[in-house]
Amino acid sequence: MQTPILKINGFAKHFTLHEQGKQIPSSHNVNLEVYAGELTALIGPTGAGKSSVLKGIYRTYLPSAGEILYRDRHGELVDLAQADEYRMLQLRHEEIGFVTQFLFCLPRQSTLDVVAHPLVVRGESRESARNKAAEMLAALNLPERLWSISPATFSGGEKQRVNLARGLVAKPRLLLLDEPTASLDPVTAERVIGIIEGIKQEGVAMLAIFHHPELTHRLGDRVVELTPPSASLTTQAIDQQEKVYA
C-alpha cells in the first residue's frame, strides 16, 4: 500500500472579523489524501471553501481546526497546521508549490526572472534557472517577446501562464493548483493539461481545483467534494441575524 504525501483530517477554516463582530465560515470538515504521481481534485459549489483548503495547506491562512499531515522527502511527518514559520518557509522553498489565481511579483523583475526565482532560491545558478524558465515559458506558449518585461501589465491569461510556469519549473513534491486554466484559450489550456499529465508521471503529487468538471474528470485520480458550511452558518444568515438584532 502506498502512503499518502498529504493527509488532511477534519480541516476547518473560519474568519473572525473583529470590526464587524462576525464569524465567517469557509471550509469545514475537510478530509482528503494526495499521493505521489496522482492528482486529487477538489470540487464543490462556490463558497464551499476550496481555495481556503489550498491556502490552509500553504499556511497563507491559519487553519482553524484539523490536521494537515505532510510527509516530507525524508519521510518525516509534519502537521502543517502546527508547523513553525521557519519549517513552513523551508517547505515552501524546497517541496511545496502553489499556483494561485493571482500573480504577485516585483515591479521591475522580468518574466524570465519571476519564473526562475524558485530555482534561484533553491541555490541554482541564475544562468541555469533562466534556461529552465525559458523552456517552461515556451512549453506554455508565452510569446518570447514578453519574457524580458515585467508581467505586471500582462493580460489575465498571460499572467496565468507566468504563474503556472513559476509553479511548475521547480518540480515541487506537492503542487497546489487553484484553477490553473481558468483564463486560458483552449489551445493553451490543452498544453497546460499536457504538462500536468507529464509532471504527474514524474511523480509530483497534486491537489487541484478546476473550474470545469471535464478537467476534473480527465486529470483527477481522486475527487473530493466539499459542501458549503451548513446553512445556518452562512454569511448571509449571520447578516440576517444581525439585522434582526440591530
Binding site: F15, T16, L17, H18, E19, K55, R59, T60, Y61, L62, E85, Y86, M88, L89, Q90, F104, L106, P107, R108, Q109, V120, V121
Partner: protein, 276 residues
Amino acid sequence: MRKILEVRNLSKIYGKGCPRCIESTGPEADTNMCPHCGSVVAIHDVSFDLHEGEILGLMGESGSGKSTVVKNLYFDQTPTSGSARFIEEDAKHEMFNLNAAQQRRLRNQRFGMVYQNPHLGLNFGISSGGNIAERLLMSDVSHYGEIRERAKELLSRTEVLLSRMDESPAAFSGGMQQRVQIAKALATNPPLLYLDEVTTGLDLSVQARILDLILEIQQERNTAMIVVTHDLGVIRLLTGRALVMKYGRVIESGLTDQILEDPQHAYTQRLVASAL
C-alpha cells in the same frame, strides 16, 4: 538556516519611568505615554529570532516603535531592559553586555544600517566614495588603493555613477543618496542589515529599483535584514515573516502572506483593510 540574532524582551522607555508605566501603556491603553509619569514606553517586551539570509519585516503605524527596535540593535541607543544575542559561526555576543569598543566593532563590521534620512547615514561634508572609505577604514582595510577599488566596486553594484563618486552626496537625488547609503552599509559585507523606511518618500519607480536592489543583494550575499516600514507593499515584496507593532508592543507575528491575507488581530485587520 542558522539563527543569527535572538532578541528577547527588549524594552526602551524614554523618561524616568514609574512602577505603573507598563500597565498604563500599550494597545489596550491606547497610548505609549504613561499618564502617571509622562514617560514614553517606546517598545516593551519585543522578542524575535532572525535567521541567516532571512528578511523580517517590522510593520505598524507611525510611533509604534519600529525604528526604536533597530536603533537599539544598532547601538544607536541603549535599551532599558532586555537582551539580544548576535550569533556568528565561531562566537556568540550578548550585545548589551559588550563594552563600547566591542559594540563599535559589531556596528562597524558586522552590521549595516540604512536610515530613511540620508543625513543620518552619510557624511555630507565628504564625497560619496569618501563615505565608503570611512567605513572601510573603521574596519580592517587601510591600503588606499584597495579602499578606492572597493568603493568603486560597491558603488557600481548599487548603480551609482562612478563618474560622480568624488561628489558629495548632498548633490544627489534622494534615490541616489539611498544607493550610496546601501553601498556604505554593505562595505564590510555584513551578515546583518537594518533598513529603516529606506524607500519612503521616493518616487514609485525609484522605489521599485531600490527594492529590487535589496532583494538582489539578499540573494547574492545571503544577508539577513530587518526591514522597518509602514508600507504594506514593501513588506509584501521583501519579507518572509513580519511583526506587527502598536504602541510599542508586538501584537501579531507570522508568515507575511498570512498576516496580510488572514490577519488575526483586530488592529492588523484594520491596517490591512485600510491599505487595500
